[in-house]
Structures are given as C-alpha cells and as structure tokens.
Symmetry: C2
Subunit: 316 residues, 2 copies
C-alpha cells in the first residue's frame, strides 16, 4: 500500500495558501482539503461558505491578491445597487463571487449536499484536488464577547473583531456528522500525512475538531499529523489570531498554538525567526520560512510539512 494520500485541514486565506502549495507538492488527485464551514452563514437569503470559496478561488488561481480576499477581476455593481435600495452592505459581495452563492443556495434548496455542490463547482473551475466541507450539516461558530453572544460574521466582519473575545461555541457541531470521506481518509492505510494548515486555530481548525469523532480519528490515524504555525514573530500574517489569543489569556506565539493542539500533533513547522519557541515543545519541530508570498514559497512550505511528516513516519 502506497502512502500517497495527503489530508489538509484548512480555513480561509492562510490555509488556502498552503493548500495551493500542497496541490503542487503532491499529485492533485491525492490531496483532500477539508474546509472549515463554521463561518458559513445565511445572508440576504444566500448560503455563504467563505472558507470553501477562498480555497476554491486560491486553487483555481482566481483569488484576489490585491484585496487579500474574494475573487480576482471582481466588480461591485450588485453591491453599489443594493446600497441605493437600502440593502445591507456590511458584508461585501462581489458580482462574480455572488454567482457561487446564488448557485450554491439554489442547489442546497433543491436538496443537494454542500459537498456535492462544492465538488461540482470546483471541477467546473478546473480544480483537481478535492475541497470537502468538513460536514454537510450546518455548524455555526458563535462568539462569546464582552458584549454577549454574537454570530460569527457579525463579530468578524460587521464588528471587525472589536468586541473582546471570551469564548467560542460551534453551534450544531455535536449533531453534525463529519463528512464520511473525511473520516474515511483519516482511517485509510493510504494516508501519508495530515497537514493542519496555518489557519486560525480557534475559528478555522477547532470547528473541524469539534465534530464528533474527529479528534479520536486524528489520534488513531496511522499517519503523522503536522501543523504549520499561523503565528510569525508573535503576530498573525493576516487576521485576528494574535488578538484572539491575547483575549483568551494565551500569550500570542507559535509555541502556544502547538500547545493548544496538544497531543493531536506529531509535528510542527514554525518560522525561522521563532526558533527560540521550538525548545520545550512536545512535538517534533522544523524551522522554515513560513511567510508565503509567492507560489514557490507555498510549494516549498508544503514540502517542508510533508518532509516532516515523512521523517516522523520513518522514525517510528
């Protein structure tokens, strides 16, 4: 049995960069990317899946590198017009982006599974790796803040993460089924590595871990589980990870993320400038350049993570 299957757990932007790197570092058909759906939400009657779409755009080469989110070549006529008729404008929906939301919503209402719709859309956009929602059942991240409970996108986009974070809940997670293909991959003798992408642990990875059976399946899987740090020099490349850590009483740092994942992780990739944090970590740790600007950066970092996993396997 060849160990050729790579399973990536990913949120949005940072995770998508490494997922793109992985898609060049292994045969694309051997890459399964499990996407967080905890920040999915319903807006204007549309079912929006931000992390699935960010992954889709990144892997199709359609991501907007100027904005850092959304689609390339985007136009904003819909949003401009919505403003003139008094519609809500706090969540920016580009005209091209909207096509995915409308099509997904229409197909979900017709009874199709989110995973089937995602598979079809990604195939039509020429994406070879599989992007799989963590679950076809709804899970909704809720934020406990100093202002009380907030819906995730209300906290994240409308309030720009300004309320102080006290805790998180993943509504529906306990009743949601991890996608069978996700669990099958974790149980597969073909599994070479599980890569936890450099996504926000609290809002991008932990919703995935909150699904029944996922932590146990990760602990039981025969392949190494390696993570790439989302923190460089005490800061997140993008997004509120460091702020959230501080508010949760965790000193922001690469090592703290590894400690948060705990014995779920066999290996950890941290940035060269965080070398000092590597000492004292329980996980086997590799230093690398983890800032991913170019495609080469992404592929190189993907190879570092896979090499670490392979080394762990060899040494077992």
């Amino acid at each position: 049995m060849t160990r050729d299957l790579v399973l990536a757990l990913s949120g949005g932007v940072g995770g998508a960069k490494l997922a793109l790197g992985l898609s060049h570092a292994v045969a694309p058909e051997n890459l399964l990317i499990v996407a967080n759906t905890g920040d999915d939400f319903e807006h204007l009657g549309l079912s929006i899946s931000p992390d699935i779409d960010t992954l889709t755009y990144a892997l199709a080469g359609l991501d907007n590198q100027t904005l850092g989110w959304g689609r390339r070549d985007e136009t904003w006529s819909f949003m401009e017009t919505l403003a003139t008729i008094g519609g809500p404008t706090w969540f920016r929906l580009g005209d091209r982006d909207l096509a995915l939301h409308v099509q997904r919503t229409s197909r979900l209402r017709a009874g199709e599974a989110l995973s089937a719709i995602t598979a079809d859309i990604t195939r039509k956009l020429g994406i070879a790796p599989r992007i799989l929602p963590m679950s076809d059942d709804p899970v909704r991240t809720r934020v406990l803040s100093d202002e009380g409970w907030l819906d995730f996108q209300d906290y994240f986009v409308a309030r720009q993460c300004k309320p102080v974070l006290r805790g998180l809940a993943f509504a529906g997670a306990e009743r949601a089924a991890a996608h069978p293909e996700f669990l099958a991959a974790l149980a597969s003798p073909r599994l070479r590595a599980v890569v936890v992408c450099p996504s926000n642990p609290f809002i991008s990875v932990e919703p995935i871990l909150a699904l029944p059976g996922v932590r146990a399946a990760l602990a039981a899987c025969t392949a190494p589980v390696v993570a790439v740090s989302p923190i460089i020099g005490g800061k997140a490349v993008k997004g509120p990870t460091a702020k959230m850590m501080a508010e949760l009483g965790i000193a922001p740092g690469a090592a703290a993320v590894a400690r948060r994942y705990g014995d779920l992780l066999d290996g950890y990739v941290i940035d060269l400038r965080d070398a000092a944090e590597a000492t004292g970590l329980a996980q086997r740790t590799t230093l690398a350049q983890t800032l991913m600007s170019t495609l080469d950066d992404k592929v190189a970092l993907a190879r570092v993570a896979l090499d670490l996993a392979d080394t762990i396997t060899k040494d077992r």
Copy 2:
C-alpha cells in the same frame, strides 16, 4: 371632490413608456400604476418580477434604452461567472438588476408583502408615483402551446415565443386577491381615468383582469376606462403581441385589441396610420401618434389618453 386620481394598468416595456408619460402629465402622487405580476417567477431561488422592475427602472430613469430591457449601466460579471460554474444562463440577470431580486427575495422570505417591498424600493430610487403589484398573492401565467403547457418565462425567454400559442391560463388568479389599494382606487370618487397601457393584452393586461372582482370593479367605476393600442400598422412595437394574436386566430390589428377588451373600455387611442380601423369600434376613439421614442412622445400620448377620458366624462 376633485377627480385627480389616474390609475394605469401596465405590463413591461410599452406600458412603462406610457406610465412614464403619465407621471409627467399628472401630479406624480396622483398616479397609481398597477403592475402585472403574471410573469413573475422563481429562478435560481430568486423571486423575479419583470414588469414591476421594468416600470421601476423606467420611472427612475434607469432603464437600459440600448437593450430595450433591464437597467442602464448594467454589468454582467455575475452571469459570466455563473456560466463558468454550470449555472443556468437562459435568463440574463445583470449585476445591478440582481440587487433588486436578491433584496426582494430576502424580504419576501422574511414575510413582507411584495407591495410593501416595491413601495420601499421605488421610494428609495426617488420614484414619486406608486407602482403597485396587482396582487400580493402569486399569479403565474401559463402558456398552452403546440408543445403542451409551458411556464411563462420558459415560453417567453427560453423559447423566445417560438412554440405556437393555443391558450393562456393565470394559475392562482382565482385565489389571489386584487391589491386592496387597486380596488380602492377603482371605487374612489377621486378617480379621473383608468388607462390601460399599450401592453400585450393577453399576457400583461388580462392577468390583471383575471383577478376576482377586477372586471366588475372596472365596469362599475365612475371614471372612463381608456386604452392605448399596443398595435401599430398591424405590428407590435416590441414583443410578440401580433404573433400571439395570429396564433389565437385573431387578425393582428389595433381594432381587434379594442374588441378583445370589449365593453370594459370607454375610449381607445389608436395610431394615426390605423385610422381606417377606428370605424366600427364601439369605443370612442382618438387618433394619435402612438410610437413613443422620446420623453415628449410619452408625455404627449399620456395627455391624449387623459384628454379622451376627460371628454368622455364631460359628455356623460
């Protein structure tokens, strides 16, 4: 009691031109435009009201005069992208147009009435006259063709009216309530005139007439009911009216439309070039230039229709 209220019955493009003319010929707050909703439909999970929107764009000065339908300054990113992910493209939804559909659908799902949503959107777009859906209840025009029954937009847009028309039905009309403001206007002693716009009689005006009580209220109303012919020289300015007449066994012509409306009409405005058709009509008939190219044409034709109504009133 001043007779200052004008009620217009309208479908899309041709009707909207005269409705715009009427909005300049009377104080806008005295104009109530009742819009056909028989060609409303659900597409991609969106509630689309083509005639309401055509009226809205025309009265807001936002109509696309190049295309002859839809919005001015339209962009097509949504549609282009929808095509790349395998979505249906037979019904063209512009990015700006889409804002109205998404907002309307979202508000309808939240339980608001179509008339309330329309009133709000038109007010936000600076439209002074009231555009009122004929009913807040769904009515759906169905087409009996030589290929069997078709949904209206399937016949009209997807099949471009190619199937031969055998008959029409207005599904839901018998259970739908004509909007109370519509019936109140018909019963109002303030009513100066009912103007049946130069819209397709079969698919734009007759759905309105099919609502319970509307024909009786028109027959009973104290103000004259005048129509403007949608046919000039045996042809429709735009759209399939003449083709539909022929397929229904009615020789296409201005007089045939007046005969179709029958004793519902007190007056009729036909084009100068159709003078020969005026003889033998039961309704009091006025000849006018009915092709509306410029705003002046529209206002002038609106004045002709109102003058005809006023003359009928004076002579009673």
